[in-house]
């Protein structure tokens, strides 16, 4: 069984990530403040797709990777009061690892700053007890993933406060139920709610997780 939930795409310009008035009760004060902080760091730009890339000046690859990491760390610093030291250190370690020159895939784009802004907003909104493993798409979009046994939740953080997600849960018949969606980050909690995301976000799930192969 599968499901596909795609919110209608907005016109050519995506609005800033203001939280809709009716959804405000669902967001923590920290998430609201983060929205204001990140919005202040970038202009409004067109609504994204998975293949959108920021226009980057031609530079040597090593320099581009360094710049992308520096940009992400600066953006993190602007919301550092909402992240404890251990969480921030782990995040930076993950980002460094993704931009390791010896592991770099030719033709890939480094992390897009606007994708990372979406990621920060999502993390402060979801506030998961278990942090995601991170990956990077061809186009420099950060990917967050949670796995419990065979059940997975994967979120691609698109530029300009949009997210694309897919989740799979296996039932007793050994068949996966899959659902996918694309929403503004401000509607992510609402989009995931029917699928009980605490399954992935809580530490209870981790205790049941298979050891890595």
């Amino acid at each position: 069984m599968t499901g596909l939930i795609v919110q209608p795409r907005r016109a050519s310009i995506a609005p800033p990530a203001r939280i809709a008035r009716e959804l405000e009760p669902a967001f923590s004060p920290e998430a609201k403040q983060l929205t204001r902080l990140v919005d202040a760091l970038r202009p409004s730009t067109p609504a994204p797709t998975s293949f959108d890339r920021e226009r980057l000046p031609e530079k040597a690859l090593a320099e581009r990777l360094f710049d992308a990491l520096a940009g992400a760390k600066l953006l993190t610093a602007s919301v550092a009061m909402h992240l404890d030291r251990a969480r921030r250190d782990k995040l930076f370690h993950q980002l460094d690892s993704l931009h390791d020159l010896t592991e770099w895939e030719d033709g890939d784009e480094p992390l897009q700053r606007s994708s990372f802004g979406t990621f920060l907003k999502a993390m402060l909104t979801l506030n998961p007890h278990r942090q995601p493993g991170l990956g990077l798409s061809h186009d420099g979009h950060l990917i967050g993933a949670w796995a419990i046994d065979r059940d997975r939740l994967t979120i691609e953080f698109l530029p300009n406060d949009w997210v694309k997600w897919v989740l799979s849960r296996y039932k007793d018949d050994n068949e996966a139920r899959r659902f996918a969606g694309q929403t503004p980050v401000s509607e992510l909690v609402e989009g995931l709610a029917p699928h009980r995301p605490e399954h992935w976000f809580s530490h209870e799930g981790r205790q049941r997780q298979e050891p890595p192969r």
Binding site: R130, L136, T154
Partner: protein, 160 residues
């Protein structure tokens, strides 16, 4: 030469695909758990998903995999990352998984001579169907080999 350009691979055979570190499914402590859906996503300029036909090579399973990995390494301009991996899937399972999500993919031999004669292609794969990409990552490509576990040609003991 086995197969032939454009011929369908046998259903019982297997293909192997290179997956960079950035597209491996990991936990927050960087333990590798599998593959992200994006490991099977076509780039905008790609017409098909590149794979290698494992049974193109003779020998036992370990030899077939090793020869496939060597051919894949030879087709890249630089060394593959030590933390990268290879995903292995059965041809029939790839096709049935894709059909479940409404796509009739073909898995065909597309040799690249002389370096990679076992190169093959998964054609007619939708570009952006996340449900399908997730199913390929979780249900079709079920085996994983770490790049670091395959020796380089230089360290391989002579055969015979």
């Amino acid at each position: 030469m086995k197969g032939g350009k454009g011929k369908n691979l046998p259903d019982e055979d297997h293909v192997i695909r290179y997956v960079p570190w950035s597209r491996l499914l990991k936990d927050e402590d960087q333990n590798v758990l599998g593959f992200l859906p994006q490991a099977f996503q076509l780039r905008p300029e790609e017409e098909y998903l590149s794979v290698n036909w494992i049974e193109y090579h003779d020998g036992d399973r370990a030899t077939q995999i090793r020869l496939s990995v060597w051919a894949i390494r030879d087709s890249f301009d630089k060394p593959l990352g030590q933390k990268s991996a290879f995903a292995i899937g059965n041809v029939a399972k790839i096709k049935t998984t894709s059909r479940t999500y409404g796509s009739r993919v073909r898995v065909v031999h597309e040799p690249i001579l002389p370096k990679n004669p076992g190169h093959s292609a998964i054609r007619q794969l939708p570009r952006d169907d996340l449900n399908l990409l997730d199913a390929l990552a979780a249900d079709a490509f079920t085996d994983r080999v770490s790049n670091s576990d395959i020796p380089s040609k230089l360290t391989e003991p002579p055969r015979g």
